[in-house]
Symmetry: C2
Subunit: 256 residues, 2 copies
């Protein structure tokens, strides 16, 4: 499994990913899932991947080959983020066309998802896309300024409660890290190293990158601190008011 | 969708459930999913249900009919909780045998899960079971003193962080309510009324029951209070320490 997320708002963008890949529970390994295709000074392009590793690696290989050949459109000459998303969706479709019949025969999951975040000089603001296995895509908006791929559920309640279009950039980074850590705690198939990247709006170089490895003392410190704060929050809550909300006996009971 | 959970430890047991049932997103309705089959003074038996509503209702009907006929084993004369779980698993298998071929033909999901919590006089402690659509079951243990069915992921991080075998009973109830509310916030297919029941260990009558309906001001108060405490906890966390954990450029990069 995988957990990747992107957060974007008026102040900038944060993208993060775990690194655990598994084929069943008895074969897990670490593969990087966050890739920086930026061209400093001209464009920021961050990609995160989830799903079938052979397919996502093949798509990245195609992307890379096109940049090296430089004889057609590629990630370093396409003019808008929307076109970059279309280009990557096209690569996904090519790989699906090529490999899917072979995978389908043996019942192997051929799904893959990409997050694409960035900004190209001349465009008014950063953009964040989720590209589906079918090659089409959606874009994050002011109303829901984040997108997730992979094991998305454990880490979503914290995002729902803290992230808005006006959240400061450093708070978004903190939230991304805690969202990944919550997912790791509840699902063993999501694991370190964690990669995290932060880019200010209208800046064309990455502001910060970070990698936290297995057993990293900083990660352990953040987790234990967060757990103690969550427990404090929990203890501050009043107990359940049973009396005021008592059920009338038998009411709404289907079988009586 | 559905979210039900049971928590059990040295002090007692809490069980809770939402009430939303949907056939697609365009047909939702409210059905109770928490049922009290206790025989005060002799036994506590609380059931929660998830999955195919026709199958879970049919199983409950069978359970009820057996109690009324009183000419064989039923929920009010079986001697141990383990045998009650076996009995319910048997009813699930009967219904699956009867209906599954008809549902399978039309690609309809025939899965259903039950939580069973309680204690029968003469037994040393309360027990909590999760009964699978296949009729077999697992039991909650001291190490993981809770079980969930339905949409389990959004509400699990809070349980993982707060519930142990030594958590006071009132705190377990509070945690169950917040876990259900977190799930409702992140998944629209889980919704009120919420039912919650609390039973002390070695007590053979239900200590508290509660029902919270859609738009209940108490539920709204609890949610907004919890959100403000979670935000406080989040704001208390230090910002990400980027510098100390900076990635070496190119390190671990698959494609460069």
């Amino acid at each position: 499994m995988t957990y990747c997320l992107g957060l974007i708002n008026r102040f900038g963008m944060v993208m993060g990913a775990d690194s655990r890949t598994n084929a069943g529970v008895d074969y897990t390994s670490a593969y990087r899932k966050l890739f920086d295709y930026s061209l400093p000074g001209d464009r920021i392009l961050i990609l995160c991947t989830s799903g079938n590793l052979a397919i996502t690696q093949a798509v990245l290989h195609q992307i890379d080959r096109d940049i090296q050949r430089d004889d057609g459109e590629h990630l370093h000459n396409i003019a808008t983020m929307h076109e970059v998303a279309t280009y990557i969706g096209g690569k996904v479709r090519e790989m699906q066309e090529k490999d899917r019949p072979w995978l389908e025969k043996d019942g192997i999951d051929f799904q893959c998802n990409f997050l694409l975040g960035g900004q190209i000089k001349g465009e008014p603001h950063q953009e964040l896309y989720l590209i589906y296995p079918q090659g089409n895509f959606i874009q994050a908006t002011k109303e829901t300024p984040f997108l997730q791929i992979g094991e998305t559920k454990y880490g979503k309640p914290l995002l729902d409660r803290t992230i808005t279009y006006d959240t400061p950039l450093e708070a978004m980074a903190k939230c991304a890290l805690l969202s990944i850590d919550s997912t790791m705690k509840s699902n063993i198939s999501v694991g370190p190293p964690i990669n995290l990247t932060m880019v200010e709006a209208n800046h064309f170089s990455v502001r910060h990158t970070l990698q936290l490895r297995l057993g990293d003392p900083y990660l352990a410190k953040m987790r234990s601190l967060w757990e103690s704060y969550v427990r404090q929050a929990f203890e501050s809550m009043p107990n359940v008011e049973w009396e005021a909300n008592q059920i009338d006996s038998g009411e709404d009971v289907l079988i009586d």
